[in-house]
Symmetry: none
Subunit: 199 residues, 4 copies
Amino acid sequence: MPIVVDKEQKRKEIALACKDLLVQKSIQEITIAEIAQTAGIGKGTFYEYFKDKEELVFELVNLLMQAHNARKEAKLAEAHSTREKIKLFYSFFYEEEASDLRVLYRKFIAYALLAPKQAMIDFQTECFRFYYRWVEQIIDEGIAKGELLPVAKELIKGMYTMGEGMFVASLATDGVIALKEDLNAFVDHIFDLVEKENR
Amino acid sequence: MPIVVDKEQKRKEIALACKDLLVQKSIQEITIAEIAQTAGIGKGTFYEYFKDKEELVFELVNLLMQAHNARKEAKLAEAHSTREKIKLFYSFFYEEEASDLRVLYRKFIAYALLAPKQAMIDFQTECFRFYYRWVEQIIDEGIAKGELLPVAKELIKGMYTMGEGMFVASLATDGVIALKEDLNAFVDHIFDLVEKENR
Amino acid sequence: MPIVVDKEQKRKEIALACKDLLVQKSIQEITIAEIAQTAGIGKGTFYEYFKDKEELVFELVNLLMQAHNARKEAKLAEAHSTREKIKLFYSFFYEEEASDLRVLYRKFIAYALLAPKQAMIDFQTECFRFYYRWVEQIIDEGIAKGELLPVAKELIKGMYTMGEGMFVASLATDGVIALKEDLNAFVDHIFDLVEKENR
Amino acid sequence: MPIVVDKEQKRKEIALACKDLLVQKSIQEITIAEIAQTAGIGKGTFYEYFKDKEELVFELVNLLMQAHNARKEAKLAEAHSTREKIKLFYSFFYEEEASDLRVLYRKFIAYALLAPKQAMIDFQTECFRFYYRWVEQIIDEGIAKGELLPVAKELIKGMYTMGEGMFVASLATDGVIALKEDLNAFVDHIFDLVEKENR
DNA sequence: TATGAATGAGCATTCATTCAT
DNA sequence: AATGAATGAATGCTCATTCAT
């Protein structure tokens, strides 16, 4: 009788086992041998589950992102005001909990920028769209509830791109930008402006 | 009589000769042999002028950036309103003229994110600071002239990071974001909000 | 009650199932995994029936050769003149019916020439001897019946080697040599020469 | 000043240095590392001069073949009768002097049969044609001088293919066929037959 | 100063073979 | 008896770097 293995499950296990490695080293300088050793499998086994080093990163980013989204959704459900929700949403860019995901996602984006394969670009586009719509939805709810004026919509959506920029460029901007403070200040500015106008 | 070659001059020549190559291919897939051939020099000669492929990119990004800055400064001098200046400043992120520089700078950032060497981080930080201050200065002048309320400062500075994000992530956001329109709309939003408040 | 499988029978089934694969691809580029899949068995199972890829080819060449020999023998029994028999015998080298066997046998010989294992050499020697004696027997019968002079014996036996050469080298001689015509012309030449002498 | 190397010359040197290795081992079981070591060069250097292991064999077979052809031509010039020339020509298939070339050429043919790349097939076809025409020319001269009847032409040309067959299959036919004796006997048979007819 | 021939460390990848089930 | 998941030895190949000229 053949040994039956849940391929999808084992993929996840291998990816998860490599998390620290992938967070610490850059994708290019990690070797297949290192991955195999870290995951406690043979080199050949790696190729049974992944075509590429890239596929491994895909898998892991996906896993962490899904977990992150679930956590975030739960938290958002408990937030009261729209201002709070917006801030909570943007906390992805600085919160400790998302640190690994951020490091990984940043590397992933960088990698895709250097050696653009369609699959990577597609994945990135999808991620961008997904989060972009999420923040849009929070804003729309805020407008519907009268907590936010329509005029603020573009500002806050633009913030998403701003966040991306901050976080992508964050290696270089450490010390120049204080992500948490700057983002929150930005949100407050907008809400304050809009509230004044509202009066 | 020995032929005296200005080392600094030759560095620039080599870098410039490789512009198209660097714009078209990713840094990793370019080999020293290819660079040497493109520049019409020997492989050994390359090492007389550069330590690394990275140094070559440094040199080129620097060259293009200086040229770009000079052009921009000239244009800014001719702009009348602060709103116009701000828009002009941000046009870096989409104007055709800066296309090569953008492609190159994006690759440079990505490369630095993947294999972070201190020199690259430093260079990036410096670039970030430089532009950050530039926009800050435009804003301060606008405030001094009464064209802009202090409250807008943070918003507009944040925009710089937003632009970075847009452009760094632009591979994936093609079609999702219309850089020129989105940036200008953002500026207009802010100026409009502030003007209203002003009244 | 255990399912009793005739090992010998299953060997044949596996070999036959791989015929097209072996005809189309070169032995080296076929993997055990491919063989197993083609035969609809597991990789491990392959090793229950064969030691090697070579053994598989052995088995198949043997099978096809035996079938071919049986067909040929039947045909020869119906041939009338010795000249006809000789031509019929040599038709192995070009007849459509033997095409797969020829392709396979040629690969087998080539493989044996590159990585000569004793078993392969022995098998080849045996094949060579077998056919060599067969043509000898046809000739001897012709001589006994007075249809052929003893002097022609060596010529016609030499032809067998000639046929081997033609067919082994046939990849390269396509267009240079027309196997069917050349072989038949050769036979006719010899019979004509000998007949003239006979008169 | 660059080190100037005669690339063509060095190719030959490397190929020649590997002669014994290539004669003794099969192409597949020789590694690049082994070749480099044998030739006293680095692995990388090998790739400066050859694309493939195959190219190395090409080069060597070519070299040995050219040398062989020159020697043979000289000898043929000294042969008196056509019968002698024919025998001399065919001595390629057994003479000690051509032993290495034969072993190599046989491997080359076998290799080309297994993994047929166009370049190899072309080369083989060219070789076949070249020798085929050579023997044709000897025969034509013999006919012109009246030493050979036109009727023998096809027979002797056919012999070339026979020789190929003998030599290609020679691994298996050792002991079954005595190449030298069989070939010479064949030639004598033909000449005798033709002479008788001539009378 | 300029060169490019020489180099070999280093890595991805393949695949025959084993063996637990 | 049958299986296919796991394995790692083995190897081709690239390319940054050196250094004799």
